[in-house]
Each structure stands twice: as structure tokens, then as C-alpha cells.
Subunit: 207 residues, 3 copies
């Protein structure tokens, strides 16, 4: 049945949970790429974080479907939840590909992309925490700008990684593998920016 | 001009037509991959099914644009139609790539992915058929869960296919070709799940 | 604060600016691919056009967020703006990849895809210009059909490009590079069609 009471709190709680979960995934990714040992356990840890993210996202969508009056536009709630979920999905995909491709060692560029993800997701946690009362709208906008700058940094690293890969690589199979891994990691930084763009839109609407 | 009469029936009719058409495409794909002969005719058959899908989808969008009061949320109608259309587009794309890449024989993993598509689209036909009167909401949810399980199975096969390809392949060009084909087929199973997710949302909203 | 006055004019002005900017980008791409010299300057020119596009798109989204009553459905405004922005982003991405991959010479198929983009974006400028007063709805529909035909032509060229690449290429690294560039260019023609589809929907709704 439809609920006619605004369930404001639950959405903000779940957004915060989701952002923290995504950030945890980014930290676990950076840890794997920095110290590329005990790979099976570290990969499993990230898979578990991804599953936890799925559950948070499913709860948001379920509650949204049952809630008649929402504290933010339905589409914005959906877009924030989906963008956060996409980030952790892509982190998990990247790690999974490293396993499938039997990657034997990490790379500096992959590590640099993971650092961008750690930073961006940390900024997302803070930005999402201010949605609740909309008292720090200027701060949210500043955080979104910083996430945008991180995404630019991600692009720069991705470009460098490809140049490095193709300039030094003569092994086509190795190029195929790393090109794919870098693409997935860079797409994860894009999704951080997508999340920031929705937050920005929400703030402008409610200013 | 806008129509003020709910055109319920036509949307459900077209959803069913579209799901059945997509299922026919999945069966034709499995047939091609199981018996990889008479390729030109089988490829053409799938292209024709894809064209039929385009026409059904265009009709849904046209009627939606002209209809003022809709039996389901406009966005949900659009999303169901698009997800179904994406499935058959991707099936056609996969077959087209096999032709462009001059693929000489099928693969067990490609066949297994086609089987997932046959199963998922069969579940979609049943789920879509219950939208009309919303009397079998629990059954729709069960079907969506089964489609979700099929998508997991698709992921598993995709992962196995990549491992097999990279572990055994020394021919980089062959890897490029099959990696692409598997990716397109696995994305088609993702779209089945996307369609199921929209159906699930519709059911929860109208429960 | 919300504005309660329809800001019709500004959206149509910005759509026209965006479409003209995208067309300029397509022309600069065709120029680069036709006369593959002075590459650094030509690449920079396209990057500047992409930045100009970002600013137009950001303005549309900002004004949309602040506008209460819009001359077209919010979602349609968002979709037109995004599709146009995606086209110029993809043109910039293609050129950037050519630089990253140290591409030494252009290709006939890349040039043909750029010609499709020049034609499609020219049709988009005209179609967008008629949105303002909705007096030429039949003409908009005809233009959308022509853009659809251009997208089919893009598919045809893409397919030919891949066949040519794989039939003649034994160098896997070269195949990886060009497959990627063709994919990005073909996706740009898809986005032209996406823009046309939104225009078509707008016309049908307002007919």
C-alpha cells in the first residue's frame, strides 16, 4: 500500500550507508592494488561489499516504490542510488577481470585510479550527509566541484595508462587485458561524477 | 491530440507481442549456435525479428506520446519497451559480429549464453502476461527472481568463457573477436534483468 | 528560487547553440580526418568545442533546475541536452584516442563516419530550430527520419570498417586501436539518432 507520510529519514540513512559502503570498496581496491598479495581473500572481500551495496540499493528502490510523497524528486532518488551502486559494481568488475585475466602484478596507473576512487567516494560521503537538512548547500556544491576535478584526474590517468600500455606494449593479449581493466576503473570515476551531478541538481532545485 | 481514455489494453498487447518476438529471437540465436550451418539464412531471420521488434517498440512510444492517462507510469512503460527492444537488438548485434568476424564455428559458452536468453525471455513472456490484471503479483515477483538467477548464470558463463579464451588463446585477433561476442551476449542477459527490475517495480507500486 | 514564468526562449536558444556547436565539432573532425596534418592544433580545436558544449549543457541543466514551468517536458529537455552533449563528447573522445594510439594516418571508413556526423548534426540544427514554434512539425518528423537513415548508414560503414580491419589486419594491436576508434564514432551517430528520437517524441506529444 502507498504510504502518505514522507519517509525522509530512511532515504538519507540509506544514501549514507550506500556511500560509506562504496568508499569501503574503493579502499579495499586500493589495498589490493597497493599490496598485490592474498588476492583471493581481498577479491572476496570486495565481492561481499558489492553484495551489501546490492541490498542497500534494493531497499531504496523498494521503499521508493511504496512511498507516495518523497523528500526529493523520485527520479533524483533513483539516480543517486543507481550511480552509487554502479560505482561499487564497477570496482567489483575490475577486480574480477584481474582474476579472470590471471593478472600477475598490479600497475601504477591502476593504483592511481583507485586513489581517485577513494578520494571521490570520500567526498561523496560528505556531500550525501548534507542532503538531510540542506543547510550546507554551498558546501555540497564545492564537494561536487572537487568530485568533478577528481574525474578529470581520472581521465588524465586513464589517458596516460593507455599511452604507456600502447607505447611499451608489443604483447597484444596484455594490451587487451589492461585496456579493459583501465576502462572499467575510469568508468567508475565517471559514475562518481554522475552521482555528484545528481546531488548538484538536487541542491539547485531546493535552493 | 491527447486521448483521455486509458488505453490499457493496447500497451499490454504490445508488451506481450514484444516479449514473444524477443523470445523468438533468442530461440533463433540458439538454433544458429547449436547447428552452425546455413548461416546466412539464419542470420537474416534474426535480422527480420529485430526489425519486427523495432516496429512494436515504435508503436508503443507513439501511442504513449499520444496517450494522456496511462495504465502504468509513463516511465515504466518506456523502460519495459526499451529493455525488451535492447535484448533483441543485442541478439542481432552478436550474430552480426559473428558474420563480420568471419567466425567459422560456434562455441559451447556462446551456446550456453543463448540458452540463458531463451530461458529468461520465456520467463519474461509469462511475467508480462500477468501485468494486464495484476492478479498474480506474487507470481510476477517469483518470475523476476528467476530471471535474476538467470542473469547470475549468464555472468558465470561469461566469466568462464573469458577464462577459457585467455587461458587457451594465444591468437590475439581471435581473443578480440570472441571477447566482443561474449560481451554482447552477456549484456543481452543484463537487459533481461533490467526488464524484470521494471516489472518488479511496477508490481510493488501497484500492490 | 523557482521561477514561475515559462522561460521558453532560453531553452530553444541554448538547444540551437548546442546543435550548432556539435555540428562545428563534426566539421572539425571531418577536416582532421580528410587532411591528417597539423594534428595537435586540430585536436585542440575540437577539445575547445567540447568545452563550449559542456558550458551550454551545464547552463541548460541549471536553468531547468530553477524553472518551475517549462515549455517542454523536463525529461525531454534533459534528454535533448544530454544527447547533443554526448555527440560532441564522443567526437572529442575519438580524436583523443587517435592521439593516444599514435595513429599515423586517417582511414576512409573513419572519414565516411565523420561525413555521417556532419550530415546528421546539420539535420539536427534544422530540426531543433523548428521546436520553438512547432509550426513545422511535419518537417521535424521528416528530418528525424533522415537522421535515422544517416544512423543506418553509420551502421553500414561501421560494419564495413570492421570487415576491412579484420580481413586485412594481421596486426592485433592495430586492430585494437581502430576497432575502438570506429566504435566511438559509430556511437556518436547513435547519439544523433537518440536526439532525433526525443525531438520526434516532443512533436508527437504536442501535435
Amino acid at each position: 500500500m502507498f504510504s502518505f507520510m514522507p519517509k525522509e529519514k530512511i532515504f538519507f540513512d540509506l544514501f549514507e550507508q550506500s556511500a560509506k559502503n562504496v568508499h569501503e570498496g574503493a579502499i579495499a581496491l586500493l589495498d589490493l592494488l597497493t599490496d598485490y598479495t592474498d588476492i583471493q581473500n581481498k577479491t572476496k572481500k570486495i565481492k561481499n561489499i558489492e553484495h551489501a551495496g546490492d541490498e542497500i540499493t534494493a531497499r531504496i528502490f523498494d521503499i521508493l516504490a511504496k512511498t507516495f510523497i518523497t523528500p526529493l524528486d523520485r527520479e533524483d532518488i533513483r539516480d543517486v542510488a543507481s550511480a552509487l551502486d554502479d560505482i561499487i559494481d564497477l570496482i567489483d568488475t575490475a577486480v574480477n577481470r584481474m582474476s579472470v585475466y590471471r593478472i600477475k602484478e598490479s600497475s601504477e596507473d591502476a593504483k592511481a585510479l583507485a586513489q581517485v576512487l577513494v578520494k571521490s567516494t570520500s567526498l561523496l560521503i560528505e556531500a550525501v550527509s548534507y542532503l538531510r537538512n540542506m543547510k550546507e548547500t554551498q558546501r555540497i556544491i564545492t564537494l561536487c566541484q572537487e568530485i568533478h576535478m577528481q574525474e578529470n584526474e581520472g581521465d588524465r590517468i586513464h589517458q596516460h595508462a593507455l599511452e604507456h600500455l600502447f607505447d611499451n606494449g608489443t604483447d597484444a593479449v596484455n594490451i587487451i587485458k589492461w585496456k579493459d581493466i583501465y576502462f572499467v576503473l575510469e568508468t567508475a570515476t565517471d559514475r562518481c561524477e554522475d552521482a555528484a551531478n545528481v546531488l548538484h541538481t538536487i541542491v539547485v532545485k531546493n535552493a
